[in-house]
């Protein structure tokens, strides 16, 4: 049946492009960028590029990385993706301290707040957990075995997040759902108790993050979606606290009228260190959008749009550290067809004001102002400089890829009838 669907798909077996991802160490000691199968890390404390050491018998990533994530304490970095391999790196030694083989492609990863467990979700909707404890006595790394803890029924899980107090694990999927599950004492036994579902999005949910607020130990959850809204949720009750439509604002900021049907799907969001700002990456926006969250009034509002002048940069991923008021962004792609460089990446950073005073403006840092400067950019971007046309093509390719991955295919009535007629069981009869 799957094959029949493939045949009918728009571009079957087309080489899948993958966006670039960025992750920032919680204390901004290092920054990691993943493009394709390449994981690039720059050490900001030592001001030098990092070379990752992988002694495990398993190979390095051999296909597109789809998720990278630092643990809350910053001791771990986890990377995973289409090669069905989850790799856990120590950020002290940059050694690979664990490699987990999965049955399916991995779409998202999260590290428990105590750093003891790594969770990852596969494209069939199953969330797995594996202990991330380093095996000190045993030098030879044993193959870690992951246990399934929960599942969304056959839906791609797009984002995984632990609540700030560690009580809940939150998972979002392409079927518009956000599930809040109670983290059990021993996650390896499975997480069976569902706290609630956060329902209200009318398209795939693409990203999640928590607002850390002292008044809300569970945190307030923010989610971004293909329906071009950002929503604020109470994770204990699942109630929708506020909805922020970003379409109209993004419309104003899209200056070139190239697109007939601008798509304001939100690709990534990240909450910033001041606790109330939320940065958004939007599929049509050459820059970022900043929202304000008022935790006591439980509201969201659009604060600003920061456009990136002079180049075509539609961020594919955002990252920030807990300590510094710096928002990092990357745009990039791997396996782009028809250009000399099959993978490319561009990193920029925006300095965010500490408080949310009216006159404090976010400042886009020049390349030489970024911590680590040119050396960092060389490491994270690769040394090639790339024209705007390539980035435009990349943005288009990524949009198409995201659509075909997450948006439900609509077939006309005729096409559906045709598909029914060519069903396998009917074929046998004739």
């Amino acid at each position: 049946m799957g094959d029949a669907q493939m045949e009918e798909g728009d571009n079957p077996r087309e080489i899948e492009v993958s966006p670039a991802f960025i992750a920032v160490h919680p204390a901004q000691r290092s920054v990691a960028v993943a493009v394709g199968s390449d994981l690039r890390v720059y050490d900001l404390t030592g001001d030098c590029p990092v070379s990752l050491v992988d002694d495990s018998a398993k190979p390095f990533h051999s296909d597109s990385i789809r998720a990278i994530r630092y643990g809350a304490s910053g001791k771990l970095l986890v990377s995973a993706g289409d090669d069905k391999l989850v790799k856990i790196w120590s950020t002290d030694s940059w050694l690979c301290i664990g490699s987990v083989c999965c049955e399916k492609r991995v779409s998202s990863v999260a590290v428990s707040n105590d750093g003891l467990f790594v969770c990852f979700a596969d494209k069939f909707g199953v969330v797995w957990v594996v202990s991330s404890k380093e095996n000190v006595e045993n030098q030879a790394l044993p193959d870690k075995k992951a246990a399934p803890i929960l599942a969304h029924y056959c839906s791609i899980i797009t984002s995984l997040e632990f609540s700030p107090d560690g009580r809940f694990i939150v998972s979002a999927d392409r079927d518009y759902k956000i599930r809040v599950t109670v983290v059990p004492k021993n996650p390896l036994d499975g997480a069976h108790e569902i706290q609630t579902f956060c329902l209200g999005h009318s398209e795939y949910v693409s990203c999640l993050d928590f607002i850390h607020s002292p008044d809300y130990p569970h945190g307030l959850l923010v989610s971004g979606s293909g329906d071009s809204t950002v929503r604020l949720w109470d994770v204990t009750s699942g109630s929708l606290l506020d909805t922020c439509e970003i379409g109209a604002k993004a419309e104003l900021s899209v200056t070139d009228g190239l697109e007939e049907e601008p798509c304001h799907a939100i690709t990534d969001l990240c909450t910033c260190s001041n606790g109330t700002s939320i940065a958004l990456a939007v599929q049509s926006l050459k820059g970022i959008m900043l929202l304000n969250c008022n935790p006591s009034a439980k509201t969201l509002s659009i604060a600003k749009v920061v456009l990136i002048e002079g180049e075509t940069l539609i961020p594919t991923s955002l990252g920030t550290s807990l300590s510094e008021g710096l928002l990092w962004m990357v745009t990039g792609i791997s396996k782009l067809q028809g250009f000399n460089h099959s993978s490319l990446a561009r990193v920029r950073a925006v300095s965010l004001p500490e408080d949310n005073g009216q006159d404090a403006e976010p400042v886009l840092l020049r390349d030489d102002e970024i911590p680590g400067g040119q050396k960092l950019l060389e490491r994270l971007q690769g040394s090639v400089s790339i024209g705007n046309d390539v980035f435009l093509a990349a943005a288009e390719a990524l949009k198409t890829a995201m659509r075909s991955l997450l948006i439900k295919k609509q077939y006309s009535a005729e096409k559906r009838e045709f598909r029914k007629r060519t069903r396998n069981d009917r074929k046998l009869k004739n």
Partner: protein
């Protein structure tokens, strides 16, 4: 001509729809993308559409009554019809993924409502994929009874994830069931019976009913006698395998 066609799909003496016009393939792929409307959340489920007499659209006062019984994969609706008169004050819904079969149940209920005014107002049916959308229909702890009667066995191991009772889906059923709520499963396929029993037995939020409790529950007898599949098994002298479990609070 069309007019004639539609009226003749009903049995003249009983006024009920005739099954031969609603035959459908016995299997449906629960993994494929759905094209039917699904409420975005339980609060958007339109009760006035399904239970018009109990929830008149015009009235302002909100009837706080909510669905308490769900027959997942209700088929031709035999159990719903039997339960309707047994529990006249409970709201029930059948969920079915095959559209033709859902149409049949819809017609059957409306025919029953016409011939028995004031009866059968508490049952309805919806076409949906319950494996994906249960949380879109019911709040946490809303249901008192869930039925999984003669589900598709999906013999191949490759297709086990399509089974409607599975360790992960039980988490969702435990979420929608109130503590003390009961899940009824029955099948004529021994292998599936063992699978369902195993899944429920190993789940920390379900416990088996005792023999005595099963004996005293009037619903248990209906599992075989009221459903079309159950009657078929009885006709052919087949065996059935049931697993009936209660939702309990998880131990901490």
């Amino acid at each position: 001509m069309i007019e004639k066609e539609t009226t003749s799909t009903f049995n003249k003496s009983t006024g009920l729809p005739r099954k031969r016009f609603y035959r459908a393939r016995a299997h449906s792929n629960p993994l494929s993308d759905s094209h039917f409307p699904v409420p975005l959340s339980p609060s958007q489920f339109d009760y006035s559409l399904h239970y018009p007499q109990l929830f008149p659209a015009s009235s302002d006062d909100d009837n706080p009554k909510r669905i308490q019984f769900a027959d997942i994969g209700c088929g031709f609706g035999g159990l719903l019809v039997a339960l309707s008169t047994l529990f006249p004050d409970k709201l029930m819904i059948g969920m079915e993924i095959r559209d033709k079969v859902t149409e049949y149940v819809k017609e059957r209920i409306s025919a029953l409502r016409t011939t028995n005014p004031s009866q059968y107002q508490n049952i309805s049916v919806v076409r949906t994929n319950s494996m994906k959308y249960i949380p879109n229909y019911f709040e946490k702890g809303q249901l008192m009874k869930m039925f999984f009667l003669f589900p598709d066995p999906h013999f191949k191991e490759k297709n086990h994830r399509r089974r409607v009772i599975s360790p992960h889906l039980l988490d969702e059923y435990a979420y929608t069931l109130a503590v003390g709520g009961i899940i009824y499963t029955i099948t004529d396929v021994e292998e599936l019976g063992e699978w369902m029993k195993g899944c429920l037995e190993n789940h920390p939020m379900f416990e088996a009913l005792t023999e005595e409790e099963l004996e005293n529950d009037p619903v248990v007898k209906l599992l075989t006698s009221a459903t079309e599949e159950g009657q078929k098994v009885a006709r052919n002298g087949g065996q059935t395998f049931q697993a009936i479990y209660r939702r309990i609070a998880p131990s901490l």
